[in-house]
Amino acid sequence: MRVAIGSGSCGLAAGAAAVRAAFTEGVRAMGLEVPVVPTGCHGPCYREVTVRVGKVLYGNVTPDRAQDILRAHFADGPPVLDLSLLRGAEAVDAGVGAFFAAQQRVVLRRCGEVDPTDLSDFLRHGGLTGWRRALELGAEGALGEVEAAGLRGRGGGGFPTARKWGLARRAPGDRVLVCTGDEGDPGAFMDRNLLEGDPFAVLEGMLIAALVIGATEGIVYVREEYPLAVERIEAAIGALREAGVPGPELSLELRVFRGAGAFVCGEETALIASLEGRRGHPRVRPPYPVEQGLHGRPTCVNNVETLANVAAILSDGAPAWRRNGTARSPGTKVFSLTGDVRRTGMIEVPLGTSLRTVVEDIGGGSPRGVALKAAQIGGPSGGCVPTALFDTPIDYEALVETGAIMGSGGLVVMDQRTCMVDVARYFLDFTQRESCGKCSIGRIGTRRLLEALERLCSGQGNAADLERLETLSEEVRKGSLCGLCGSAPNPILTTLRHFREEYEAHLQARCPGGGCRGLITFGIDPYNCEGCERCFEQCPVTAIAKDGLLIALTLDAGTCIRCGGCEAVCPFGAIEVS
């Protein structure tokens, strides 16, 4: 029995360090021989700090409750029911029960269970069994296993991993394996959590991949913004080296490369340019990196989650791994579920699970009790799937039919209080700034698209803008050099396709979702306001006034800067947006 403190970036931000200190102190004070270990994220990020003691998972743990929890387990204290989420597989907290019910944790099975800094702990939890099996099978056999599993790249494109490996191992030269953890999508944190929570599994996948393609160098590309992930993966590489893994059977030099955080470096040719010390500019393919990549050497680029899946395939065997998912898209997929849902966090579901299951059963619907509007899947390259299409199974092909893409796994849920034009503007603003500037259609095209959206969002748009959005989107999609700008119009195209009436409302300077600050006014509903004065205290420009006699407060729309602060603090929903 031990105390596992969820110490991913999410947990640490919520105060996991203080909780860990309190548990360590408590264990010492009670004279116990119980290890207190930091682990990766347990999954339900909305209940951080999470702590697992034996079979019981606790949420919202604060340092002052550490004593209660320790006493419940190691002395004769009463069980701490108010913080308990799960006891074994049994749900104590109904919400958390629903959060886990539809999930199938394959890649994340050790995340939150093992100490990510301790190789021996990883081995105790079945680590490196995949690697040992790969050694038994040999390079050919391991490749056959991945092929039989039908694993597809989890970075977004869904390219069959075995085919990529097959191309790489046939390419002549000194081969390189790159594991990319350059996760730049707004709202995505799968790779970070995996690198923080189970770095050895990613490295195990790299060992297997290197064995198959015959790579002599393995590079983990992580962005500088993920200091904890960098720290843990570096420590894990050091630990493997010390333990003599891999042995004489494979000569592989592993190292970490810190990316400077450019979104375009998620594109493999730009990533390779960045590895070579040049600007992160993509180049024309072919030649593909598997033929000519880093310094002209054959380079195989695989995503963090893909490699973690490889380790799982080899240790479980392809048939067992294939039990999850569909025929076209086998396996599971990790998603970072965020936005307007009650339960946010890291989830893993079998491919083919419907979006509705993910958003409503796991996520629990809108926290504001408003109907949902759409789910944004795939980040800036993806699109918005409206609620009407929530029964779409999550697999590579079905998502493309809705206009979205699988992407790397960011899933942002939006409710009725979201303006879809503003969402498109947000993503274009992102891609326009992240565009590397190499090709003119990408550089100028995204700029012009953003300008049209900005005009719409400020009520200055006209019908020509709407038409231009459609035609220019198509041109940018076709004409861009790489996937960044080529997929940048996706948020526009999907919102135009599914929410055209919102665009049309913006032509009349109306914003039905209430998201465009330039087109809305705030007011206080005098029949609902209870006079608590929270908004009065919140308002940064004193646009809200109170009358000592009347209960309801009043809002001066002229002074109001539309920051939305009053709406956020009003407990009664009395702030009207029109």
Binding site: Y527, E530, G531, C532, E533, I551, P571, F572
Partner: protein, 156 residues
């Protein structure tokens, strides 16, 4: 007996401001407390509460009732004699009497200030006040006054 506030209270001050007997104490973002000796069990704090944190004297949760749907006093003009007891009792000065005392009629002159505490109904010795859930936005004091004026004129 008295109403009580549970730990679910987030300290928004709304109930404190609407309590007719000023029985509630508390500060911003701090747990509010009802002084039992002052509580008259009117339930307004429960109607107001967005946190579902108010229990009645029997310990049952008082459901939230938005201001628009709370009961407001309706004055029966055939029974009311304008004694003005309700005017004196109303903690929020919502009621006025048209005409001389004991010869006039009471009316809800400031519906926007009324918190639905039912004190007027309890104090009325004529049984002329009835609490009815009339939507706040349908209560028009100018129209009510005009009607009473017309009635008084017709009688004189």
């Amino acid at each position: 007996m008295a109403h009580t506030i549970t730990a679910d209270c987030t300290g928004c001050l709304a109930c404190l401001r609407q309590c007719p007997t000023e029985a509630i104490t508390g500060a911003r973002d701090a747990l509010h407390v009802i002084t039992p000796a002052l509580c008259v069990d009117c339930g307004v704090c429960g109607f107001v509460c967005a946190d579902a944190a108010v229990l009645d004297a029997a310990g049952a949760l008082v459901p939230r009732l938005p201001r628009d749907r709370r009961p407001r006093p309706i004055f029966d003009e055939t029974l009311c004699n304008g004694c003005a007891l309700c005017v004196e009792f109303c903690p929020f000065d919502c009621i006025e009497v048209l005409g001389p005392r004991y010869l006039g009629r009471a009316w809800l002159s400031e519906p926007m200030r009324c918190v639905s505490c039912s004190e007027c109904e309890l104090i009325c010795i004529k049984g002329a006040v009835r609490m009815e859930p009339i939507p706040l936005r349908q209560l028009d004091p100018t129209a009510a006054l005009a009607r009473l004026r017309a009635l008084a004129e017709a009688e004189s």
